[in-house]
């Protein structure tokens, strides 16, 4: 694929074979959104992720998992049993024309079925294999199991999340899995750029644990290390502080309509614009309050004054007022409120997807835009084996009888 072509998707023509559980779903999704042809390879009985709730109308069904529908937008699907020789041979045929393989099996599994990176490289020299595992291909925790929650723990962010007097609280969604996917996609594309220059493929070894650290607490390590020469606060390893974050006021504050706003007030001028808006309360009139360190030392007092003031206004009043004055303050929005927020909608962030079993509904789209190769939705998440005919018959040239025999023998 080296001729200059007129195509309008960034990764158009790049083919990806995806053998993923939760850790690699978003990786394939991101590449598919950028235009790659991502072929999801599922067990003949269906990928286990089709069983993950929520379901449309709460009816469990392999084509109605909203989890599957979101994470597999734009992908195609074939069924293939990799535990038998026929299946492995078919995979090798597919690998001949693939650019990227994403797999999330335990270390050693792909080798045990004859599909390791060196073996795939024999078939296709430029192939890029992305292996996403819990802890990496080697090391003392190589065979440790992990889920999204346990990875959130061993990657560091869990302990720093939540109220200090209560158990730490994990993040909604599956941030650990999606972090692993993100660095898998990055690795694949760094490798792809290198291959453009040299023709050389490579193996990308992604650790979910390390991905979580880099995606959440990346700065914790240098902050700890540099503390003796340039401390950032009074504690080397600050304990979680609940909703208190950067800035003072830097917390969430109640509103008249039973909601919350969040502030991140850092600089002296931001602080003064806020106190102006508040009607210049005497309690914060002294110049010393403009000093950030002084505010931190008297944090509870300042946040308390904010709370007493904010509760007189609605979320929207506070949002508009803050926007006009250049003060960093926004409402704490529920997903429903963000869905109706004019900003993402002006950018067409939510897209309407038509799925045969689930129907026509809005999905969160991709958070970026490219001017020449905009991200696109061009097919909903696939039905199980929906593209078997396309890929096996038209693509690999298998005959109808061969396909029937493979199906009867549980290969596809």
């Amino acid at each position: 694929m080296s001729e200059h072509q007129n195509f309008n998707k960034a990764l158009e023509g790049r083919r990806v074979l995806e053998l993923s559980d939760g850790k690699g779903l978003y990786c394939g999704k991101m590449l598919a959104e950028l235009g790659a042809d991502v072929i999801k390879i599922e067990k003949p009985e269906g990928d286990p992720t089709r069983k993950i709730p929520p379901f449309k109308d709460d009816i469990p069904h392999s084509e109605k998992s909203l989890y599957f529908a979101y994470y597999n937008l734009n992908k195609r699907s074939v069924t293939l049993n990799l535990d038998c020789l026929d299946g492995q041979k078919i995979f090798k045929k597919l690998a001949e024309t693939a650019d990227i393989v994403i797999e999330t099996f335990s270390p050693g599994y792909m080798k045990s079925i004859g599909l390791s990176y060196p073996e795939l490289k024999e078939i296709n020299n430029g192939i890029i294999m992305v292996s996403i595992t819990n802890f990496g291909q080697s090391g003392p925790y190589r065979d440790y199991k992990a889920s999204d929650l346990t990875a959130f723990a061993v990657g560091g962010p869990l302990l720093q999340s939540g109220d200090p007097e209560k158990p730490p609280c994990a993040c909604p969604g599956q941030l650990a899995y999606d972090s692993a996917s993100l660095f898998g996609a990055q690795g694949a594309l760094f490798a792809l750029y290198h291959r453009n220059l040299t023709g050389q493929g490579q193996h990308v070894d992604v650790s979910m644990q390390a991905s979580v650290v880099s995606a959440t607490v990346d700065w914790g390590i240098p902050a700890y290390s540099f503390w003796d020469v340039a401390p950032l606060g009074s504690e080397r390893m600050p304990k979680r502080q609940g909703s208190k974050g950067a800035g003072v006021p830097g917390d969430i504050h109640p509103t008249k309509d039973n909601g919350w706003v969040r502030t991140v007030v850092l600089s002296p001028w931001q602080f003064r614009r806020l106190t102006d808006w508040m009607g210049n309360p005497d309690s914060l009139a002294d110049e010393v309050w403009e000093n950030f360190i002084f505010r931190i030392m008297n944090r509870d007092f300042v946040e308390g004054v904010m709370d007493e003031w904010s509760v007189n206004y609605t979320k929207e009043e506070l949002r508009e007022g803050a926007f006009e004055r250049g003060i960093p303050m926004v409402p704490v929005q529920s997903p429903a409120e963000f869905f109706n927020d004019p900003q993402p909608n002006a950018r067409n962030y939510f897209v309407e997807v038509n799925h045969a079993e689930i129907g026509k509904h809005y999905y969160p789209g991709a958070p970026y835009r490219l001017s020449e190769t905009p991200w696109q939705y061009y097919r909903p998440a696939p039905m199980l084996g929906e593209h078997n005919e396309d890929i096996y018959q038209n693509g690999l040239g298998l005959s109808k009888n061969e396909i029937i025999a493979l199906r009867a023998n549980g290969v596809i």
């Binding site: 962010p157 453009n196 993402p344 490219l370």
Partner: protein
């Protein structure tokens, strides 16, 4: 000398704060030549977080500043802007995250840049994205998870008040997503010769991490509720107190086989035989009681002990690690994830490096730049300026 994935790629870096700087650092780790445009008069707020004396060694900057060069230019002077435009001519990427309007005021908006270099790739990331009624909104990391719907749900189910985290993951996540998108644009450019303008909304990055939650709302009309550390369909599933002050271990068990392994691991105490913990449905129904029993066991051991004992039996468990734990973690050590680099003022210091290992082009970081450290090198090397030219510019305040 290791091969570099982004050999020959040059980036003009007008970044500050977190998202933009982390993005360019990653590109630098893999060999792109990052030229960070700074100013002695307007020092990046991240350099100043520990106070005005520490601007070469403040931790967020020392990390986000890894693997890049620094040139100081006075952008208020037309000659300063000229220098940047000359650098654009020999660069491939222009990355900025100053507030909207700043690049425009310097004549460095996308329409301006393509006049200088038609195939340039420009990346901009104001917090809420380009376009839309609120694109001028000033934002900081924690505000983005508030807008995107994440913060609202980040709490234990019984709490009425969102709690969230002091972890600034929207910044890291958005920055790394940007890297991925930029790489796809580089691939497109390699094949077509075309550049483009890319923008990223940090708030939308947050909501893209909550896809199934949003679908439950749009498809099933259900208002999302916080789950905290629980699962709607698995039990045991949660974060359990361990021996010591504020020590915890996460444990997740998904089916009967894993449950049997769990019971074996903890010595098959009598309570595990009770009917109310018999099967998956029963365990989910009685998860609160189950959690209480489990904590009676976990509080006898440290988080690492709990993790080890359970993992030996094939049970999924993960100790909640502190920063110190991460630095000493044997698995991260094995991967060389925590790297030590020499800093001219602070000596050997530790950093988070790269979570994925590429077999041919592994990526490598070098120390962050001192302010303006590479000014001469860049002006003479890339723009072929002579020493007296450079000195004159310095005298005229153009390199301030």
């Amino acid at each position: 000398m290791e091969k570099k994935a982004l050999e020959g790629v040059r980036v003009i870096d007008f970044t500050n704060g977190a998202v933009g700087t982390i993005c360019t650092r990653r590109l630098g780790s893999f060999g792109a030549d990052i030229i960070r445009i700074e100013s002695k008069q307007y020092i990046d707020s991240m350099r100043l977080m520990s106070g005005p004396d520490h601007f070469h060694r403040t931790a967020p900057f020392t990390s986000a500043g890894l693997s890049k060069k620094s040139i100081t230019v006075n952008m208020k002077e037309p000659k300063g802007v000229e220098i940047v435009k000359k650098l654009v001519k020999v660069s491939d990427l222009f990355i900025e995250n100053y507030g909207l309007g700043v690049m425009e005021s310097w004549g460095l908006d996308y329409p301006d840049l393509i006049k200088i270099k038609p195939d340039i790739i420009m990346f901009r990331t104001p917090g809420l994205g380009l376009g839309g009624p609120r694109s001028m909104q000033r934002t900081q990391g924690p505000l983005l998870s508030s807008l995107g719907g994440l913060y609202h749900l980040w709490r234990h189910p019984e709490e009425s008040r969102p709690i969230g985290s002091q972890v600034i993951h929207p910044d890291f996540y958005a920055a790394n997503t940007a890297v991925m998108v930029i790489l796809s644009a580089l691939d497109y450019h390699a094949r077509t010769g075309k550049g483009q303008l890319i923008d990223l909304s940090q708030a939308e990055t947050v909501s893209s991490l909550m896809g199934p939650i949003y679908l439950d709302y749009t498809v099933n009309n259900r208002i999302p509720e916080p789950l905290g550390n629980h699962s709607s369909f698995a039990s045991p599933y949660g974060v359990y107190r361990c021996k010591g002050d504020d020590k915890w271990c996460a444990i997740t068990v998904f089916n009967d086989d894993e449950w049997k392994s769990f019971c074996n691991a903890i010595g098959n105490p009598a309570w595990t035989q009770e009917e109310r913990f018999d099967d998956v449905l029963q365990r989910v129904k009685h998860s609160n009681e189950l959690d209480t029993f489990i904590e009676e066991w976990t509080t006898q051991y440290t988080p690492n002990e709990v993790m080890e004992i359970l993992q030996k039996e094939g049970v999924t468990a993960g100790a909640a690690l502190t920063t110190e734990d991460l630095i000493q973690d044997p698995q991260l050590k094995e991967r060389g994830y925590v790297v030590e680099l020499d800093h001219p003022e602070a000596g050997k210091k530790s950093y988070s490096s790269i979570p994925m290992i590429l077999s041919e082009t592994p990526g490598e970081d070098f120390c962050c730049p001192m302010l303006g450290q590479h000014t001469e090198e860049i002006l003479s090397g890339l723009l072929n300026m002579k020493t007296n030219e450079i000195n004159q510019l310095a005298e005229d305040g153009i390199l301030a």
